[in-house]
C-alpha cells in the first residue's frame, strides 16, 4: 500500500506547487500591466488571519484594503499604485519574523506594516532592522516608545497603552471616584494597565485599594470578587479573551444593583455586540474607546467618510451584517498609518528600497497630524524621536446598549517624557 503512495504524495506536492504558481499568475499579469506605467508600491501586511488575533486581524485587513483603495483612487503614492501584500502570521512571533523575511526577500515589498499583537511585533522587529525594512506597527503596545525596538520600527497610527491609560486618570478621578480596585489579566497587557494606571491615578490624588490579577487560564471569576474592598468607588477592569462575557456576567451576579462605578477598556468587548446576553450589567458603565464605535450626534464628516469607505454602519457593525461588529476602537490605526506612510513617501520622494532610510527620516520629521479624512480618529502629534504618535482618547458611557462619548481627552493628557531617541541610532 505504502509503495503506491509515494508517487501520489509527490503528485500532491507537484499539484500544490502548480496551484501556487497558477495563483501567482494574476499578480504577474498585473505587474506586467502596471509595469508599462509604473510599478506598484508594495506594502507587506502582516495580518493575524489565524490564532488569537484573528478577530482583530479580519477588521484590520478590511480597513487596510479600504484605505489602499482610497489612496489608489486619489492617484496612489508618488503616482504609483499601492499594492497590499498580505501574509498570515498566525499571531505567532516566529511566523511573524518569517513573514517579514518573505516580504523583504521574496515579495520585494517596500515596507512592512500592520501588526497588532505585541509579542508578534517584538518577535519581528529585530528582523525588520536586520533586513533594513521599515516596519510600521499598529499595536498600541509601549514597546516602540519604551526604546526596546529599533529605528526601523515605528508606530505613527495609534497611541500606546501607556499614553491611553495615563490620559484616563484625570477624568476618572474627577468624575467617578478616587478609590480604585483593578482587575486585570495576569500577563503583560494587564501588567501595563496595572503599572501605568496605578501611577497615573496616584498622581491625581487617587489610591489603588487592590490589584487583582486573574490567571490567563481562568474560566470562572466569582471567587475573585470578594477580594474587592468594600470602600472601592471604581472597579477598573481590562479582561480580554473569550472568557470576558463570563467575567461580566459573574460580576453582575456578584454586585447586583449595588455595584461601584465600573470603568473598563473596550479592548474587552471589541467585536462583541453590546446587546449580547449577559452584558446588560454594563449599562451605565464607562469605557475607554480609541475611536467611538457608535456614530455620535456630533459625528464629523471624517468619521462618516471613514465608515462609508470601510462599509460600517452607525453602530460600528458591517453594513451587510449588523451582527458582525468591528474592532472600531483600534482599526483606525491601520487607516491612519497607511496615510502617514503615504505622507512620508511623498515628502521623501520615495522611489524604491534604496530610499527606505529617507522614508524613515521623513516620517520622523512629521509632527502635526490634523483631524481629517486621513486622520479621522482625531488630531495627533507624532514624536519622531520615540517613533510614537500621541492623540486624543474617548471615554464613553453605555446608554441603552450603545456607547455615548462623555469626554474627549486632550493631547497633553497622554504625554509622558521621552524614553528613547531613535534618531540617534544609525541605519
Amino acid at each position: 500500500m505504502g509503495h503506491n503512495t509515494l508517487p501520489t504524495r509527490r503528485k500532491i506536492l507537484t499539484g500544490m506547487a502548480a496551484v501556487g504558481a497558477a495563483s501567482a499568475l494574476p499578480d504577474v499579469t498585473r505587474f506586467a500591466h502596471a509595469g508599462s506605467h509604473s510599478a506598484p508600491i508594495k506594502i507587506g501586511f502582516q495580518v493575524h488571519r489565524t490564532g488569537i488575533g484573528a478577530a482583530y486581524g479580519r477588521w484590520y485587513e478590511r480597513t487596510t484594503n479600504a484605505a489602499a483603495k482610497v489612496i489608489n483612487d486619489l492617484g496612489g503614492i508618488n503616482g504609483r499604485p499601492v499594492e497590499i501584500v498580505a501574509e498570515d502570521d498566525g499571531t505567532d512571533p516566529k511566523r511573524g519574523a518569517e513573514v517579514l523575511e518573505k516580504f523583504a526577500n521574496q515579495h520585494g515589498c517596500d515596507i512592512a506594516y500592520g501588526t497588532l499583537f505585541s509579542h508578534v511585533v517584538i518577535g519581528s522587529a529585530p528582523r525588520a532592522a536586520e533586513l533594513k525594512l521599515p516596519y510600521f506597527v499598529v499595536s498600541e503596545g509601549h514597546h516602540v516608545a519604551s526604546g526596546m525596538l529599533n529605528r526601523y520600527t515605528l508606530q505613527p497610527g495609534i497611541t500606546d497603552v501607556k499614553s491611553q491609560v495615563q490620559a484616563m486618570a484625570p477624568w476618572v478621578a474627577s468624575n467617578l471616584g478616587k478609590k480604585v480596585t483593578m482587575i486585570y489579566p495576569d500577563f503583560a497587557f494587564g501588567h501595563d494597565h496595572r503599572d501605568y494606571f496605578s501611577a497615573a491615578i496616584e498622581a491625581q490624588g487617587g489610591e489603588v485599594l487592590a490589584q487583582i490579577a486573574i490567571p490567563p487560564t481562568e474560566t470562572s471569576f466569582t471567587k475573585y470578587f470578594p477580594q474587592i474592598p468594600r470602600e472601592t468607588e471604581i472597579v477598573y477592569h481590562v479582561m480580554v479573551g473569550p472568557a470576558v462575557l463570563t467575567f461580566v456576567k459573574e460580576m453582575g451576579e456578584f454586585f447586583g444593583p449595588n455595584a461601584p462605578q465600573l470603568f473598563g477598556f473596550v479592548d474587552s468587548l471589541e467585536g462583541v455586540d453590546f446587546a449580547s446576553p449577559g452584558l446588560e450589567f454594563l449599562e451605565g458603565s464607562y469605557f475607554w474607546e480609541g475611536m467611538p464605535r457608535y456614530a455620535q450626534s456630533n459625528q464629523t464628516s471624517y468619521d462618516k467618510f471613514y465608515r462609508d469607505s470601510i462599509g460600517i454602519d452607525e453602530n460600528g457593525a458591517a453594513r451587510e451584517n449588523a451582527q458582525d461588529v468591528s474592532t472600531y476602537a483600534h482599526m483606525f490605526g491601520c487607516w491612519e498609518t497607511l496615510f502617514t506612510i503615504k505622507d512620508g513617501m511623498e515628502s521623501s520622494g520615495y522611489k524604491g528600497p534604496e530610499d527606505r532610510a529617507k522614508l524613515i527620516e521623513a516620517v520622523e520629521a512629521i509632527s502635526e497630524m490634523p483631524e481629517s479624512n486621513e486622520h479621522p480618529q482625531g488630531e495627533k502629534i507624532f514624536n519622531g524621536k520615540t517613533h510614537q504618535v500621541f492623540g486624543v482618547q474617548y471615554i464613553s458611557q453605555v446608554e441603552g446598549g450603545k456607547m455615548k462619548v462623555k469626554h474627549t481627552t486632550s493631547l497633553e493628557d497622554g504625554y509622558y517624557p521621552d524614553e528613547v531617541d531613535y534618531t540617534t541610532q544609525s541605519f
Binding site: 489565524t50 498570515d88 509579542h119 503583560a188
Partner: protein, 311 residues
C-alpha cells in the same frame, strides 16, 4: 557506517554549499529550519530512540531560551557565556523533570510532561517583571556578538545555525551507534526485555531525557541568539506538538528524519499559505494522509525500502 557517515556529512556539505547559492529568502529559512531541526533531533532522542512520548518539550526549548536571554539582559553576560547558561538551565530542568516524570509511564508520562511545560509557561508569565510575560523581549543586536562576529548578520547566522545543527546531527549519529544508544533502542523495542538483560533501564531513560532536554534547550538558546527574540509563546503547547509532528513526518528513530520533517512542514505551510487562507486545512489533510500511508515517516519509508542501514 561508511554509508551513514557519507549521508550525514553529505547533508552538512549540502547545507554548507547552500549558504553560497540559496536565494536570500530560502537562505534565511534554512538557518531557522536548522535551529528548529536541532530542537526536533533533541526530541527524537526521547521519542524516536527511547520510546518516551513527551508532550512538554516546549519547556526545554523555552528554558534554554530564557536561560540565555535573562542572563544576557539581566546579568549582563556576553552572548557566549549566556548561551552556556541557557544550555545549563535546560540540562538542570531536564534532570529535574526526568527524575520526577520518569516515575510515571505511558499516558501518565505524557500528561506529566505536559503539566510541567504548562508550569514553565505560567512561571514565565508570573515573573513578568523580568520576563516581560507573554510579550517577551528583544536581545539587542549589540549583544549578539561573539569573537568579533555579528550573529545578526545573515551569513554568520547561517554558519552558526549550521554549526549547531552539525554538532547535534553528528552527536546523535554517534550516540545511536554507541552502546548507550543501543540500550535506548532496546528500551524502546522491549523495556522488560532490556531490564531482564541486566540494563539499568531507569538510568538510561533519565540520560535520554537529559540529553533530549539539553539539546532542545540549546536550540532554544540558539533561536534567541540568532533571531534576537525571547518569548513565552515558545513555551506554549503548540511548541511541544511541533517537534512531535516534525519527527513523525520525517521519521521517528532516524537521525536525519527530524530535519526532513522540519523542512517539509515549513515549506508545506509556506507554500500552502500562498495558495489559500485555509492553509491549515491543507496542512491537516496532508498530515492525515501521511499518518495513514506513511506511518514511519518519510525517512522511515526510505529505510524500509532502500536503505536498511539508515540509522
Amino acid at each position: 557506517m561508511r554509508k551513514s557517515l557519507t549521508l550525514h556529512l553529505g547533508l552538512i556539505a549540502l547545507l554548507f554549499a547552500l549558504q553560497f547559492i540559496a536565494p536570500a529568502y530560502h537562505h534565511g529559512n534554512l538557518a531557522r529550519i536548522m535551529v528548529m531541526a536541532s530542537f526536533a533531533m533533541g526530541y527524537n532522542i526521547m521519542f524516536g530512540y527511547t520510546g518516551l512520548l513527551s508532550l512538554g518539550h516546549a519547556m526545554f526549548f523555552a528554558v534554554g531560551m530564557y536561560g540565555m536571554g535573562l542572563s544576557a539582559t539581566q546579568l549582563g553576560l556576553s552572548i557566549g557565556p549566556a548561551f552556556g547558561v541557557g544550555i545549563l538551565s535546560a540540562l538542570i530542568c531536564s534532570l529535574i523533570v526526568g527524575l520526577l516524570a520518569l516515575r510515571t509511564i505511558g499516558v501518565a508520562f505524557m500528561i506529566v510532561t505536559l503539566m510541567f511545560s504548562q508550569t514553565i509557561f505560567l512561571t514565565i508569565l508570573y515573573f513578568g517583571g523580568i520576563t516581560r510575560g507573554d510579550e517577551g523581549f528583544v536581545i539587542k543586536q549589540s549583544t549578539r556578538q561573539i569573537f568579533g562576529l555579528d550573529l545578526s548578520d545573515a551569513t554568520t547566522r547561517y554558519f552558526a545555525a549550521l554549526l549547531l545543527f552539525s554538532l547535534v546531527l553528528l552527536g546523535i549519529l554517534w550516540l545511536v551507534k554507541s552502546p548507550t544508544g543501543r540500550v535506548l533502542i532496546a528500551i524502546r523495542e522491549n523495556e522488560e526485555r532490556a531490564k531482564m538483560l541486566g540494563y539499568d533501564v531507569w538510568r538510561h531513560k533519565l540520560a535520554a531525557v537529559v540529553m533530549s532536554g539539553t539539546v532542545s534547550g540549546a536550540a532554544g538558546a540558539a533561536y534567541g541568539v540568532l533571531f534576537g527574540y525571547v518569548g513565552a509563546s515558545f513555551s506554549q503547547v503548540p511548541y511541544s506538538i511541533f517537534p512531535l509532528l516534525w519527527v513523525l513526518l520525517g521519521g521517528a528513530g532516524t537521525v536525519i528524519g527530524p530535519f526532513v520533517g522540519t523542512l517539509f512542514m515549513f515549506y508545506l505551510i509556506d507554500l500552502s499559505s500562498t495558495v489559500t487562507d485555509a492553509y491549515m486545512l491543507v496542512v491537516g489533510v496532508i498530515l492525515v494522509l501521511l499518518t495513514m500511508f506513511a506511518r514511519n515517516g518519510l525517512m522511515g519509508i526510505v529505510r524500509e525500502r532502500w536503505a536498511k542501514w539508515l540509522p
